[in-house]
């Protein structure tokens, strides 16, 4: 069946101070997780604007992850609060567009939570595998 062979494409925006560092630590600790994820480094999760997320879906991403520091731990104090608000809003917009909001994952992962990073990637990947390809937006894709 498709579920077995389908490899979802995941784009992750990770903040430099916490989640990117958490992903680095997963590497240093030689933890293993699926290859589906491509990480883009941003200074803070609040740097990610909705247009970037939508563009990722337009380009055929099956899932987008935005990861930042835990609330209260943001390197810039308040960035992740803005992220939370903004991404909640985007999720409702996604529903409106006919895009399953579950394809957008907002997660807090600190610089020492290598396990949490690995677990997140694993569970998000297998969830997307079950959900199948994100066809809807692919249809909406702008001509490149």
């Amino acid at each position: 069946m498709m579920q077995d062979t389908f490899e979802p494409k995941i784009i992750a925006f990770c903040c430099n101070w916490c989640s990117y560092a958490g992903a680095d630590l997963a590497g240093t600790g030689r933890l293993k997780y699926p290859e589906n994820i491509r990480i883009i480094r941003v200074p803070c999760s609040s740097r990610v604007d909705s247009a970037l997320v939508l563009r990722a879906f337009q380009n055929g991403a099956d899932g987008v992850m935005i990861a930042g520091c835990h609330p209260g731990d943001c390197h810039y104090d308040t960035g992740n609060y803005h992220t939370r608000k903004r991404m909640m809003l985007l999720k409702s917009l996604m529903e409106f567009m006919g895009l399953d909001e579950e394809r957008l994952l907002v997660k807090w992962i600190s610089g020492n939570e290598a396990d949490r990073f690995k677990d997140t990637v694993e569970s998000f990947t297998s969830k997307l595998k079950k959900m199948g390809a994100s066809g809807k937006v692919r249809d909406l894709r702008c001509a490149k």
Partner: protein, 658 residues
């Protein structure tokens, strides 16, 4: 545009899981890539010169690295760019080790991913813009907030280096908690004897200006250029005229509890904090002054030989500019009334360690005589309860207050020396004596006869005898059974807590607090005196419980940081700051409130439209304040706001390659 792509083997770390040659080959086909090479160790001297040579030979103007995490070697490669006369932001790193070779097990898939990651970096580098950090002059004057031992030490060190320092203290005298102590562990030297000279030195130092009875009103600016407003509360005593003779204090008829003596004595409404106060001039406490309450009295004004009393005096706002700010606001002690089982606040003979400290003090309320507050008699048996409110997840603070074990040992030793026929019992969870000569000090306390009982006190209650003594019920771990001790006095080692106003001050300074309310250092190990806000440093207990030697060393550490900053004379800002495209900016100013550093302000620009000049508001970035988080760029609806090194165009290019 000429891009060189360099793929690192990292020995076998990358090469074993990623086909590096294929990565180089695949990315070599991308537009503008004119050179590719795979290298054994890019960070090594050989690797660096390989890149350098390729830059020269092929006139590369951009470099893309596929190697370990940029968090690891970004600066290494940026420095190389600098040496080669290229902007350091023309190097882009793809993380193919931590995010690829180390976390995957299928070489074919890992190679495909590595190619993607390097392609993404190449695409990003197409849109790289050169960035420069701004250099700003430093105002070579320091502000120290809090005049305890930590603040005094920091001020003295900076002043000795030749820089002016303002020392801000909210009380009417500097000195902090140390001024209240009798002797100090582990050497038992008299606290006042070592502190008073330092207080006097601070007050008379040509480079130090004291602002006592003062608090921070407002802070703006950034490292090297803080603008501060200080509120100097009205003391009602003209400092210039007052000679400190003390006539007013003697004659003042209003008596109130003396906070410095923890309520074990009375003071007047016009008073000096303690005998050796610095500055040694009284202040009038308007809340308790009869004249301020009823309009009658005025005794101090009548008696003052120099006419220094001024009831009309108002708070003064003092404005100053500083290059560095040192926070040394110390601590408060937890009021143990919520620990009902200890009966504090219900029985006068249950006191805190600081109260005992005052009693033992030769210049304290009793000139060093011990007494039971209930009847004034000398206590014969004293029970100490450790960790009263500390290491208590349920009713108190989960952390250890660090100094209580040692000062209790000190108290038992002092009691033993001064009152050989008193007995001391100490209930403890563990005795923590990490520190030079501390274990020996504790040993000495035990040898001198202190009885240490490992166990928890479940209840302190009145014994009900004619002497109004107390019964302490606890568990003696060494016997493994419940035990009861009849006590004349119970002393609680109450928990060290952040100052009540700590949060507000943190807000003004833009620094953060940990979950217990102590100020957070920038890095728990490597930046213990810095904060996340550049130019603001932490000294003493405001950062976490510690003893005097630690507070003093930390203070000297902050002074060193400030001196380094002043010697350098300029600060370099973050290069990756926000930038506004004025043409796109609609002036909506939605970005302003999200900026955590208040770096965004509104600015009017003049534009020509339809042949006419017109004014229009746009957002403007203070590059010295901006830390480059990007919250503004993530929000801007006009796409006018961008972050150097992470521009919308660059991130889009990354997304588009994937």
């Amino acid at each position: 545009m000429k891009i060189g792509v360099f793929i690192c083997w990292c020995g076998s770390n990358i090469k074993n899981m990623v086909d590096v040659e294929r990565v180089a080959e695949a990315t070599g086909k991308m537009p503008h890539v004119v050179y590719t090479q795979d290298v054994q160790y890019l960070c090594s001297e050989v690797g660096q010169s390989d890149i350098g040579n390729a830059i020269d030979e092929h006139q590369l103007d951009r470099v893309v690295i596929g190697a370990c995490s940029p968090r690891m070697h970004e600066t290494t490669f940026q420095q190389l760019m600098n040496r080669k006369g290229l902007n350091p932001y023309y190097v882009e790193i793809a993380n193919i080790r931590e995010h690829c070779s180390w976390v995957h097990t299928d070489k074919a898939k890992a190679t495909v991913k590595a190619i993607d990651l390097v392609k993404k970096a190449v695409a990003k580098s197409y849109y790289a813009v050169p960035l420069h950090a701004e250099s700003l002059p430093v105002n070579k004057r320091a502000l120290v907030i809090g005049g305890g031992i930590a603040g005094i030490q920091a001020a003295l060190d900076i002043a000795d280096a030749g820089y002016p320092v303002d020392l801000l203290e909210k009380e009417s005298s500097i000195g902090g908690k140390m001024a209240q102590f009798d002797k100090t562990f582990p050497t038992l030297d008299c606290s006042a004897c070592i502190l008073t000279p330092k207080m006097v030195e601070a007050a008379t130092h040509e480079n130090i200006t004291l602002h006592t009875y003062s608090e921070l009103e407002d802070v703006s600016g950034y490292v090297g250029n803080f603008h501060v407003t200080i509120r100097k509360r009205a003391t009602s005593v003209d400092e210039e005229r007052c000679t400190g003779c003390g006539e007013c204090v003697t004659k003042c008829p209003a008596k109130v509890d003396n906070e410095f003596d923890q309520g074990h004595s009375k003071r007047k409404a016009i008073y000096t904090l303690f005998a050796q106060a610095v500055p040694n001039k009284p202040v009038l406490d308007r809340k308790n002054c009869i004249y301020f309450k009823t309009g009658k009295c005025g005794v101090c004004k009548k008696i003052c030989p120099t006419d220094a009393i001024n009831y009309e005096m108002e708070d003064q706002l003092i404005e100053n500019d500083y290059g560095a700010i040192i926070v040394a606001t110390g601590f408060e002690l937890n009021e143990p009334t919520h620990l009902g089982e200890y009966h504090y606040g219900h029985h006068p003979d249950v006191i805190t360690s600081l109260e005992l400290e005052r009693m033992l003090n030769a210049s304290g309320p009793t000139q060093g005589k011990m007494y039971r507050p209930s009847n004034g008699k000398e206590p014969k048996r004293i029970v100490f309860i450790q960790c009263a409110g500390s290491r208590d997840r349920h009713d108190g603070n989960s952390y250890c207050s660090k100094v209580c074990c040692l000062y209790t040992a000190k108290h038992t030793i002092l009691l033993n020396e001064k009152f050989p026929d008193t007995e001391s019992y100490v209930f403890y969870i563990d005795v923590r004596t990490a520190g030079k000569n501390y274990e020996e000090f504790y040993e000495r306390a035990r040898q001198m006869g202190a009885n240490y009982l490992r166990g928890h006190v479940s209840k302190v209650e009145p014994l009900g005898d004619s002497d109004n003594r107390l019964l302490v019920r606890g568990y003696d771990g060494s016997l493994g059974e419940q035990t009861e001790i009849e006590a004349d006095l119970v002393v609680l080692a109450t928990s060290i807590e952040p100052q009540q106003g700590a949060k507000k001050l943190a807000g003004m300074l833009g620094i953060s607090s940990d979950r217990n309310g102590f100020y957070s250092e920038a890095h728990a190990k490597l930046k213990p005196v810095e904060t996340q806000t550049q130019g603001v440093y932490l000294a003493g207990v405001c950062q976490g419980p510690k003893d005097i030697p630690e507070a003093v060393s930390q203070a000297s550490g902050t002074a060193a940081k400030a001196i380094v900053l002043f010697n350098r004379g300029q600060v370099k800002g973050v290069p990756t700051t926000a930038m506004v495209d004025e043409e796109l900016c609609s002036g909506c100013m939605q970005c302003k409130p999200v900026c955590p550093y208040e770096a965004i302000s509104q600015e009017m620009i003049t534009e020509r439209a339809h042949g006419k000049a017109r004014q229009r508001p746009v957002a403007s970035i203070n590059r010295a304040l901006c830390q480059g988080c990007g919250a503004c760029a993530g929000l801007c609806r006009s796409g006018a706001m961008d972050i150097g090194g992470f521009t919308g165009r660059q991130l889009l290019a990354e997304v588009d390659t994937l």
